[in-house]
Amino acid sequence: MFESDKTDHIKLLYWMMLTRAVDDRSVSLAKLGKIPGTIFSQKGHEAISVGAACALSEIDVIAPMHRDLGAYLVRGMTPGRIFSQAMARVTSPSQGRDVNTHGMGDIELGIIGYVSHLPQLMTVALGAAFSFQYRNEPRVALTFTGDGASSEGAFSESLNLAAVLKLPIVFILEDNQYAYSTPSKYQYAITDLVARATAFGLPGVTVAGNNVLDVQTASTEAIDRARRGDGPTLIKANTMRMEGHALHDSAKYVPTDLLNKWREKDPIVNYKSLLYEKELLDEQTEKSLIKQIDKEISAGVLWAEKSPFPDPATLTEGVYA
């Protein structure tokens, strides 16, 4: 696990720390009244989005959801553009037309912006994978969804169609135990959602979603398999949603001891300890990471705040291409 060079480990840590920093700053901006919409917490999901996105090549495409901020960052979406999207500015990827991570796509960066109707982007990702297969390109589509979305029909349709057409696609199912207030036991009756993969004839892998190295390793294997032309894989990553569904939600329905148990498994804290233990991280490096991230966040917020709001005169523009 520690055979790769030092830089890769530091990179994984940097992306997870940056994800959390953008998340934390977004919450502060919201509390200051600078965000008209809401913010979906990333806490507990950083290792999944970062680990999976770091396993991709530049030519690949992601179709993320609202807890995959890390994947957007890894693909090159800057903190400034992310803040400007939440702050509804015209410089944002949706020009102020869509809410926070929703519709935060950028095809140049290989990011397809999602719609709220999870797991709709699984089906859109099928199309990206289809286009790669159609043109014999060695590219892969990777899409994320959640335990709640796995109950939707589109989840089953997507696994089935991907398996039948043998598409170069990787599905990451982030099981964070709650879909808004609905716990897993009221979401599905099987022991492990990964069984759904076998049911449709594709391999399924379960990983510890708070362990970035496990996520990256499983993703790399699945991506290689897809790139070889051997078809899709479902990766089920276990984690815990550490905050409410969105800012408004205090999540009182989540038992405190469950949260406490998972607080021990924080993906960033634990990865950092591991790197210290293996002498792959020292205090000076950590300090410089924090400094760099602070700088990026401040610059991003400044840029977003300077960005104008959209002009109401443009309201009806762009309905059609």
Binding site: V61, A63, P93, S94, Q95, R97, D98, G103, G105, I107, I112, G113, V115, S116, H117, Q120, L121, M122, T123, V124, A125, L126, G127, A128, A129, F130, S131, F132, Y134, A141, G153, A154, E157, S158, N160, L161, V164, L165, G318, V319, Y320, A321
Partner: protein, 324 residues
């Protein structure tokens, strides 16, 4: 010009566009080896192979969404729904993702969602529907319904080349009953433009799809009573050709709107509102609508015959309007 059927015109358009542009592919249920439930895709599989003519599992949601992803990556998907009735199972990715994508993200999504549409063949509640109003109410989609072989070919070619998602409904009642002169070469008919199918002076009949032949038949009957009808074939339901609608309303002052779909919140209501808002002072009588009633489409021939408007209903309504 060779005379061919509506169905052959559709088939020709698909064939020619797939030949001209290798980013065009088609997917749907039973469209490959079988050539489609109505044979609209006959011969495509043999010419272009499984790679470009894809028989899918039964999964309208998944393949509607797939079309958007493929279009984002530079392909031009054509999706066939076996019947317009079944588009409801693929509704979500069409109205949520495809329709809003350009407004939110600025990327064009050139997709055609085709489906055999409408009644007249005693196929019951779930193989006869006219769901165009669902899509006309959704910003970002174009909705096209041709009424004759010439327009069917030209409009379909335009739809395939259009950078937007287009819902393309084909009146299956006309598939084999309508024949017409169609150029063998490729050509386009512009989306968004209505056609004056018949020029007249007393009454405007604004209609589309399989009701156009009914309107023309009615107009012919009405000439015996010295009533001159102008028949406007909308061809594109969304966006509507407001100029042509207002021009005919102003010309005759008496407007009859005819459609096969149900009355309440149908396309006719929008057309009536456009005229009321913009040409009220030109009207010599209240706008009249001849449509299906607000019921599901019934199966038994006496019931469906009573459900679906025909030229006799149009003659009757036109006379009421004329003598108002």
């Amino acid at each position: 010009m060779p005379e061919i059927t509506f169905l052959q015109a559709i088939n020709q358009a698909l064939h020619q566009e797939m030949k001209a542009d290798d980013t065009v592919f088609i997917l749907g249920q039973d469209i490959g080896v079988l050539g489609g439930a109505f044979q609209a895709t006959a011969g495509l599989f043999d010419e272009f192979g499984r790679k470009r003519v894809i028989d899918t599992p039964m999964c309208e949601y998944a393949f509607s969404g797939l079309a958007s992803g493929a279009a984002l990556m530079g392909l031009r998907p054509i999706v066939e729904f076996q019947f317009a009735d079944f588009i409801s199972t693929g509704f979500d990715p069409i109205v949520q993702f495809a329709a809003t994508h350009h407004y939110r993200q600025k990327n064009p999504l050139p997709i055609v969602f085709r489906a055999p549409w409408g009644g007249g063949s005693y196929a019951g509640p779930f193989h006869s529907q006219c769901p165009e109003a669902w899509f006309a109410h959704t910003a970002g989609l174009k909705v096209v319904i041709p009424s004759n072989p010439h327009d069917a070919k030209g409009l379909l070619i335009s739809a395939i080349r259009d950078p937007n998602p287009v819902i393309f409904f084909e009146p299956k009642f006309l598939y084999r009953s309508q024949r017409g002169d169609v150029p063998s070469d490729s050509y386009t008919v512009d989306l968004g433009l209505a056609d004056v199918a018949l020029a007249g002076t007393d009454i405007s009949i604004i209609t589309y799809g399989a009701m156009v032949p009914e309107a023309i038949a009615a107009a012919k009957t009405l000439t015996k009573s010295s009533i001159s009808c102008e028949v406007i074939d909308l061809r594109t339901i969304s966006p509507l050709d407001r100029e042509s609608i207002l021009a005919t309303a102003k010309k005759t002052g008496k407007v009859l709107i005819l459609h096969e779909a149900r009355k309440t919140a149908g396309i006719g209501a929008e057309i009536a509102a456009i005229i009321s808002e913009n040409a009220f002072e030109y009207l010599d009588a209240p706008i009249k609508r001849v449509t299906a009633p607000d019921t599901p489409v019934p199966y038994s021939p006496p019931l469906e015959n009573a459900y679906r408007p025909n030229s006799d209903n149009v003659v009757h309504a036109a006379k009421e309007l004329y003598y108002f």
